[in-house]
Amino acid sequence: MSHDHSHGPGAATHAHDAAHDIEHVRQSVRKYLYVFYALGIGTIITVLASFVDFGSRWMNVTIALIIATIKAGLVAGFFMHLISERKLIYSLLTCTFFFFGAMMFIFIWCAQDFPGSEVLKILTTFWR
């Protein structure tokens, strides 16, 4: 990062607050770069893991989805600032994920609720 201290119209009125804000953003920029490296490494791991046989196709799917979830968590947490967000956003997302989970559960349950269905087979291989 360059240290371009120009005083354009974006400068905050209170010098103290502005200095604090700028320092906070500087620290965030460093974090963004670490997250970027982590996402790149995560992508490489995902590709490499797909060429390894973890016993069953479903085990490979589970591992790939775990890596994807970690990557998504990094994007949401740091790039979308969810690690330090206001309460209203958290409440909103809690509702979203409740309904998202319910939707997935209901659709898959309805379609696969019969003896010998694929989803039941997958569940029994995990819980054997």
């Binding site: 120009s6 974006g10 770069l33 989805l65 998504a72 994007v75 790039f79 898959i108 694929e118």
Partner: protein, 294 residues
Amino acid sequence: MEIPYTVKPREDTGLFNGKVGIWLFLASEVMLFGGLFSSYILLRVGAEEGFWPHGWLNVPLGTANTMVLIISSVTVVMAWASLKLNQFSRFKLYQGLTVLCALIFLVIKAFEYTDKFTHYAVLLKDGSYVDGHLVSKTMTADGQTLQSITLHGTVTKDYNQVIDPHKHRKEHHEHKEITVAATNIVRFADVAKLGQRAAFKPVPTMKDQTGSTLMIGNRAPRYNSYTAIYFTLTGLHALHVLGGAIVIAFLWGPGAAMWRTEPERFTNRVETTGLFWHFVDLVWIFLFPVLYLL
């Protein structure tokens, strides 16, 4: 009339209104893509054994596109941070790079789509499949009847070699130009009569002299459940990339004039579009392994 809380946070929420707005929109987007993901799961687990394709997509291209989106996610957040640090020229650079990444993503996607649309499978009367890219086709003078089709690819009796090239990658398959006369191709209507299962849906316009559709299919959405959900999910995602790119380009170009009059409001606009852009990246993080690798 002035729109309230474009800069100043509301006392009760601590947020400017645009941010609440974009999060509500993203919540609805989660449900939209979630519904399609559940369709993917059901189509996949419901597919007959040996009929779900593996290794149809180009993994290096998909990986490159994943990297392009990750880079754009960093540049979009750096554009916002640059405004916070009062570095407008840096903002212009990062915002421009984001638009460039979006365009690279769409160009790569277009190449991938073209590759799928030109990839054909033909079922011959001796029960074998010709699978490969279209070289040429000859039609009668009126353009209604197919005479012959030439593909660059392989011939096999085992459809599994078509559906799962990854599993059969170690076997030697000679790729060559293969020309097939229309008279040697099974009619779609006859597949069941021959006691076979139509492994793919043919192109309706590929007809013989009796007007019957022949078993010639390209990997368009109609081909099978996999191509249907692949084009639906990636097509919807690509539309999001396009829409996001248009807004980001606007804020990079004419929209940037607001920086001179209302810098904080402009910074908030950049943050809001950034949130949308990260969501687009987030969806791709799941689409890539699910469609390309598994």
